[in-house]
Subunit: 330 residues, 2 copies
Amino acid sequence: METKNRRVTATDVAKSLGISRATVGFVLNNTRGQTISEATRERVIAEAARLGYRPHSAAQALARGRSRIILLVLPDWPIEHSMSRHIEEASSFLDEAGYSLVTYTLHEGGTARPLWEVLDPDVVMGLLPFSARDIASMRASGITNIIPDPEADTAAWQTGPSIVAGPELQVEHLAGLGHSRIGFAAPADLRLTLITEARLAVVRKKLANLGLGEVDHRTINVHDTSARTAVQEWSNSGTTGVVAYNDEIAAVVVGAALREGVSVPGELAVIGHDDNPWAELFVPSLSSIRMDIEGLGRQMALTALNAADGRAVPAEEPAMIAMLVRREST
Amino acid sequence: METKNRRVTATDVAKSLGISRATVGFVLNNTRGQTISEATRERVIAEAARLGYRPHSAAQALARGRSRIILLVLPDWPIEHSMSRHIEEASSFLDEAGYSLVTYTLHEGGTARPLWEVLDPDVVMGLLPFSARDIASMRASGITNIIPDPEADTAAWQTGPSIVAGPELQVEHLAGLGHSRIGFAAPADLRLTLITEARLAVVRKKLANLGLGEVDHRTINVHDTSARTAVQEWSNSGTTGVVAYNDEIAAVVVGAALREGVSVPGELAVIGHDDNPWAELFVPSLSSIRMDIEGLGRQMALTALNAADGRAVPAEEPAMIAMLVRREST
DNA sequence: GCAACCAGTTCCCAAGGGGGT
DNA sequence: CACCCCCTTGGGAACTGGTTG
């Protein structure tokens, strides 16, 4: 069809209309402080549509000094699935504000140039605090907006609602079922240490509040016999309810119990965390915690916009943070 | 510390050295056809490092007309986990060639501007053929390199090794165990129809090759009783081995069997596909297929580079496509 | 609406030194 | 010895497509 496939620029639109390319820009950006006649405005819009004009985002980024990209960094263990709905929501919301959300799974030993260096995002946002190395790298790339704020105390993050709500519910649920000796099953993965410690602290505190004894805490490795040992020891010590770090650990514990001849939930009740889609497929199906912040996506988006734009964040705290999903394992 | 935080530009490096900014560019890009003395080259590199110079990618993209970004589109069902290692590998590889890989999970009813419009990638690459709507959208954004090629026949893709190898192994494995009546458990999810059909066709063909009877094909819905019905019917019809579309469906079938009092693998053997990390956690643990193309990441990267750069793709077909992981469910 | 500007890339040419005739 | 040519090295300036005073 077309012999030359050059992309349509604002200049093309302007020339075709016999006006200046600045005017085209004014109209298409709704530039405030510039008054353009309604007639011209309409002609520009119509002509841009007719020619199939798309702004060249690199050029825009260069001229404005801001890329209107927000980078969401995800950890490289599969928390992703439970996030995906929220990400989609955040994405739509940011889009309406003229920003694009790019997600980035940061791999451990990754050798590639990090994406924040390439995309020059206005904001880099993570689900948990960044390592000092990453922060240094961002700073060196000229990133000034980092969430969570590296200056803020990690401890504050560790006691935030997104960490605390789940474990509290887990303990409440088991206690409510009459379990008085409660165990905690932690993952061996070192990358999870920060969250594991925080959750364990919540469990301890909650147990103390309820006047129950000390938690019986074991580290579970998926690929060895540590789960069977833990089940035996819990069994011996009279522990009847186990709070698992997540559904994977819960599944390992339940599996070990079944193989040891310990009935679930009769002799040992186990509750996971995250409500992975496969948790309900087990026999017995796994009770779990669904993190379900009504509007977490919007909340994330607003936080990002605030950092990028300085627009105010309605402090509207989400209605519900975590929800118990009771199934057969408790 | 710093009062002005302006980013370091090539001009800064040039001025600091008393040379032109063109020269800085020549050195830093290894521009061919320009010869720069070794002494100057070293001074430029040292000074750039000292000042912490980072090229402004938007400016580069604008000037060159190419963004050096490759967009990998992932489907919004969690195939992601099994891909993650390959993605990391592709990412490193592309990085060495000066390209950045951005992954993008395309959500069904997403309302946001698609990322290919924002990032202006040199190549958009998907794991399966794009919808006509997406292709039109890419074309409108000026994307010329699309993989898989929209012109190519979908049928060709459906009979490619990445589709065929898994089901063949599944059937071979069950047949090798002596199962002669074999069932197929398909997911109800409509988004998976394309792959499901393709895999089922492979199973049919393989059974015919082995001189076995027709496949007994059932659609399994995770949230109703279809799995129990299927198990009963397989039981009645003498089907003793089931090829599941993936591990999730396999888990549902195994669960239904256990609840029906049908022993696994004694009365019904089930094999999944994808070898999700949680497949081994089940009791009985799930046999599965691990897609493990040695160098799939590199292969993906090379294909992309070929499209972006025109550099030749070594046709080096990967050594191994799919691998049987036998566990307790078969 | 004109013009400067954003931060690079790239084509083309100038200056200077060395070697050959 | 003077002259010419060429090659090496590096600079000038136009250009990318928008934004904004």
